[in-house]
Symmetry: C2
Subunit: 305 residues, 2 copies
DNA sequence: GACCTTTACGCTTTGCGTAACCATG
DNA sequence: CATGGTTACGCAAAGCGTAAAGGTC
């Protein structure tokens, strides 16, 4: 097979139509250049050049091969560049996991910021609950997750993206919906509740359990999807403890949210998480961007009675 | 710059994910392969492979570079093939000159036969009179001409494509149009004639002069285009001596053609001509095709009164 | 210790440059 | 004899193979 150097040599001779000038352009002397071209022609089994008294001209085959060589050499030059951009994280793919409801508020602005700072890093979106994200991160199926604690500190690095309040969601006409001061824990104990799944939404389940004692008989349904809970609340199946950012969706259901007395307003956390040992350069391009703005949760308006 | 061999080496290792197996596939031993990959990585300034206990895996950059290498190697393989096809005359361009009217009959079938036997040889058509074709052939601006004698036998090779009769064209109602036996030369001497240009259509001018004496005062117009002559004849500007193949066009003008007494019926010749020393391989693919069928001039029907 | 990759060393091959040679106007 | 390409020859660099070494499970 011929070499790229031979292709370059041929291009030089073909363009200069003169071995001497071509050799000069290639920073070498004529004889080895002449030999390389002969070797190339022998290799291809065809004559590329017509040696004439005042220089050389191209055969039809030489003309065709010249065009091929131009393309080939262009490709050979760009190949490293692309690889280098990928290595630098300028170009690449990051597979991003996010929890359905939790990310509705922050995902859009985050993606916009990624796109602004790293336009050639494309993001693959994969909706999954936090535990599945952690599995996927460790198996290499995912590069970056947006989810909730806890996660193993040794292998997973994380960055806090957002904290928000846990509030009570109830139908618009509910007895607790009209008051002027916060709902208390004792108010909640008397209610039927729609609860987070203790397996698939462990984080919210534990948060709820920390705030109020849960009696099995007061649970109407459990689910991992916060939006489903809002629907059930609207349908009168009970109240639910949900993150404040659900307000925008609750409004559509004629559901009201109210704060809980004594609950800290940074109870619900959302983190970006990634495998500490990840080799994906594009991921390391995105990580600093997570910090580049504190991203206040862009709530459109508080819906509160 | 890296070499095609390095690209092939990298592809083998990347695909086998194992230096040993890759070396086997490349018919070499591991150590030099390992060195070539190191050299490639150093050259590119990036890590392509992750050396792991049970073999190797690709970095993101390595993955990108692998794709580039596949394309590059595919291009490197096809480049010689294209050039070889051109050299063999299987693929290429032939610039073909033809005389306007003379070729109307034969050009279509000829092109069809070229296309059938050499589908990848494309034909560039250039309409020009025979002397211009000869100039263009010798300057290399044309590869093949279709024209009429004479041409210099030393530098131009030729093949007779077609012979036909020279006939008299006259308006449908002309006094000579109705007879049952051929028009004689003495009939012609009394007529006003539309004549071929002695410079641009020398061949026909000479043929006409050979058949009949031409008096200056009987010439109404001269032109190089036979079709123009038919139009002038139709408009009553005289009679004209034209090749038989003009019949199909004459019909549209309500012009009648009649044979000339004593004139041989192979008087008008049409030749293919090319520079004997032409280096265009595609031309040499076409030349045998000229012979592949005698191409009887496909006259649709004889229009004769 | 089994498996895989890398480093060390010696030899062959490739490829350059200088110099001499050949062909054509 | 000037111009431009090729052949001859010697040396330096690149690249291979064998052998030995380094690192993980």
């Amino acid at each position: 097979m011929f070499t790229l150097d031979q292709a370059r040599a041929f291009v030089a001779v073909a363009e200069e139509r003169h071995f001497g000038r071509a050799a000069e352009r290639l920073h070498m002397t004529q004889p080895p250049l002449s030999r390389q071209i002969q070797k190339l022609e022998k290799e291809l089994g065809i004559a590329l050049l017509l040696r004439e008294p005042r220089g050389v001209s191209l055969t039809a085959a030489g003309d065709a091969f010249l065009a091929e060589c131009h393309q080939l050499l262009a490709k050979a030059e760009q190949a490293p560049r692309r690889a280098q951009l990928v290595a630098a994280g300028q170009v690449g793919v990051v597979r991003l996991g996010y929890t359905a409801a939790s990310s509705y508020g922050i995902l859009g602005p985050l993606l916009a910021r990624f796109h602004e700072h790293a336009p050639n890093v494309s993001i693959e979106l994969h909706e999954m609950v936090t535990p599945d994200q952690l599995d996927a991160l460790q198996s290499g199926a995912l590069d970056l997750g947006i989810g909730r604690p806890p996660f193993p500190k040794d292998r997973i690095s994380s960055r806090l993206l957002l904290t928000e309040e846990l509030v009570v969601a109830m139908p618009a006409g509910h007895r607790l919906a009209g008051g002027t001061h916060p709902v208390t824990v004792s108010d909640l104990e008397e209610e039927t509740i729609v609860l987070h799944s203790p397996t698939k939404a462990r984080y919210f389940y534990d948060l709820t359990a920390r705030i109020m004692p849960i009696r099995r008989e007061q649970i109407s349904y459990t689910t991992s999807q916060v939006l489903t809970m809002v629907g059930l609340v609207a349908a009168g199946h009970g109240i639910a403890l949900v993150p404040r950012s659900i307000d925008r969706f609750a409004a559509g259901y004629d559901v009201v949210t109210r704060p809980i007395a004594g609950a800290p307003n940074d109870l619900v956390q959302l983190h970006a998480m990634w495998e500490s040992a990840s080799e994906n350069p594009a991921l390391h391009t995105l990580i600093p961007i997570l910090d580049s703005s504190p991203t206040p949760p862009p709530l459109t308006s508080a819906v509160q009675a």
